[in-house]
């Protein structure tokens, strides 16, 4: 078991012929060859990339391959369209790696997708990894190993850091998922926490948050009310000054809201063990 993706996933890559798309397709094919069934680039239908067929539209790809998941590598200005196309073609899991999508585009996407059966992860996220089974996105496969810890994070390399630390301590993972740090994202902490709570294989959960917004506080409320499994957390940006954006489009403390301190307080109050250094996480889970 795992969440969202496993060895039965049938994934297509939107933007498969682009530089990023092609490179990461190769990585994904190497990691779990059977799970990658094709790709889409308009006008390149009929070509092959890393042994996988390319289609002109998502619908054509779905018809030919029975794809049920898609990962998006197209440039920012085409990304919203790629998401709409995947939704309209009935793709159940859409993982958008693309960064720099304008907030107004994402507000429309968010509204459109919520009344459909599709789930969007991201945008501007590393995707997800179910060790030994499926890799959707850009998370390096070698950092993870199968096991019983679920990892959910707003971040990219910081996630790798924590997953790598878990693996080094012999604590394998069910699924590692980066939900992205943008202001508007398709899947939030609470959604994933619920999935981990429901997943029989996941025994413990790691949450990696950062300054900005109140998603971590909502997560704390959810954990307090609904979670039976132990949760450890790290919140990045304790030392960040107010009013300054720290890289991520969402990482900014505005009007005193969204500080690391208040998030840590809420999480601790919900019984979560919060690390002051990401390398402490494995110890907190023991």
């Amino acid at each position: 078991m795992a969440i969202l993706a496993d060895s039965n996933t049938r994934l297509i890559v939107q933007g498969i012929t682009g530089g990023e798309g092609s490179f990461h397709t190769q990585q994904m094919v190497e990691y779990a060859p059977e799970t990658i069934v094709g790709g889409v680039t308009p006008g390149k239908g009929g070509e092959w990339v890393h042994g996988k067929p390319v289609f002109d539209t998502v619908e054509a790809a779905v018809d030919a391959t029975g794809a049920n998941a898609s990962v998006i590598f197209v440039p920012g200005r085409f990304a919203a369209d790629a998401i709409y196309e995947a939704v309209d073609a009935g793709i159940g899991l859409i993982v958008c790696i693309t960064e720099h999508i304008p907030v107004h585009d994402m507000m429309r996407v968010y509204d459109y997708i919520k009344d459909t059966d599709s789930r969007l992860v991201g945008p501007n996220c590393p995707g997800l990894l179910t060790p030994g089974q499926a890799k959707i996105g850009i998370m390096p496969g070698y950092i993870a190993t199968p096991g019983y810890v679920g990892v959910v994070s707003k971040s990219g390399t910081l996630t790798y850091e924590v997953v790598y630390a878990l693996t080094n301590e012999g604590m394998g993972q069910t699924t590692c998922i980066g939900i992205g740090g943008d202001p508007i994202i398709g899947t939030n902490f609470v959604d994933v926490l619920q999935m981990f709570e429901d997943d029989p294989q996941t025994e413990k959960v790691v949450l990696i948050g950062e300054i900005g917004g109140r998603a971590e506080v909502d997560a704390a409320d959810f954990i307090k009310a609904n979670m039976t499994k132990p949760v450890a957390a790290f919140i990045a940006g304790k030392s960040a000054p107010e009013g300054t954006r720290m890289g991520h489009a969402g990482a900014i403390v505005e009007g005193g809201e969204g500080t690391a301190a208040e998030k840590i307080e809420a999480l601790e109050e919900a019984g979560v063990r919060v690390a002051s250094n990401p390398e402490e996480i494995p110890a907190l889970l023991k």
Partner: protein, 385 residues
Amino acid sequence: MNLHEYQSKLRFAEYGIPILRGKTATTPDAAYEIANELGGTVVVKAQVLVGGRGKAGGVKLAKSADEAKQHAEAILGMNIKGLTVRRVLIDPAADIAKEIYLGITNDRAAGRAVMMASSEGGVEIEVVARENPQALIRVHIDPFLGLRDYQARTLAIGIGLPREHWRAFGKIAHSLYECYVGNDALLAEINPLVITGDNELLALDGKMSIDDNALDRHPDIAEMRDTDAEAAAETEARKAGLSYVKLDGQIGCMVNGAGLAMATMDITKLYGGDEVGPANFLDIGGGAKAETVAAALRIILADPNVKSVLFNIFGGITRGDEVARGILQALDEVKTDVPMVIRLVGTNAEEGRAIIDSANIANLSSAASLTEAAKKAVELAKGAM
């Protein structure tokens, strides 16, 4: 990207929001001319991308053009919270009967835009939200439908606006919404929106913040970027495609990934305590190409406070040996004596560390873990102070 008051108000006016037709000046003489042309009492307002300019003396009433010139003289060049005032706006003085607030921004939790109004204009909205939350009326806006008439009405009713003003208020609310969407704004705020003695509604002060990710579809706005308002290093970093924020500490941090960069800052602070801490936030993005590392290093070392540098690179897909070679190449370009610690993770990380170590650079050492690297960088910084 934040717009100045005068830029925001000009955008508002394009969408039909009534504003005062003042002009900006960069010299006291120009301020005199404008005040003279406007006649009567004017307000001289510092155009600076930071709050609290009023308290800092950056907003002054002038009864004559001479007085306007004097105020402009005092305000131009003034330093407000670290930013130098280079431009003033000269507006006619308004006859204010009542001040209200009207703003729109995106609500992350709802995934939608939220328009907010308050009968307490002129006050920072965060203060209202904290101290008098029931005075802040909110409506969430469907991105496909846009603001509906009934929502504007709900705001007007909620803030107790007399019925005679509903129509004018509704028009302004619609215009503000269109302005927010049309400019890919993250925030568009009229504060205060005033009712004048003549019962007219007027946007007296305005603020807009534009989504950097959407600037390529608004080249006119991108051109308005006020690089004076940025630290020179931030401008340079932006041009190099880096995300950089200067902080007050002594340890220069070079990291790939925003979350990891923040975490690295936090850990130097954790181990540095009150004595030393992070000198910056810096995300070099994916991979670690030599030219990117070199540009980042130049920016970090330009900060005279920096006493040590900490590289924290999680290679991801990239191989550790490649990263190590990229860093050595960059160090070859940018010579420095500042002590540096490098922590490398990724495929072939050990090979990478071996390459660093065998390069035998006197002021460069490697560390296996983030904790070890941070502790080392702290010690090195303390040693150099």
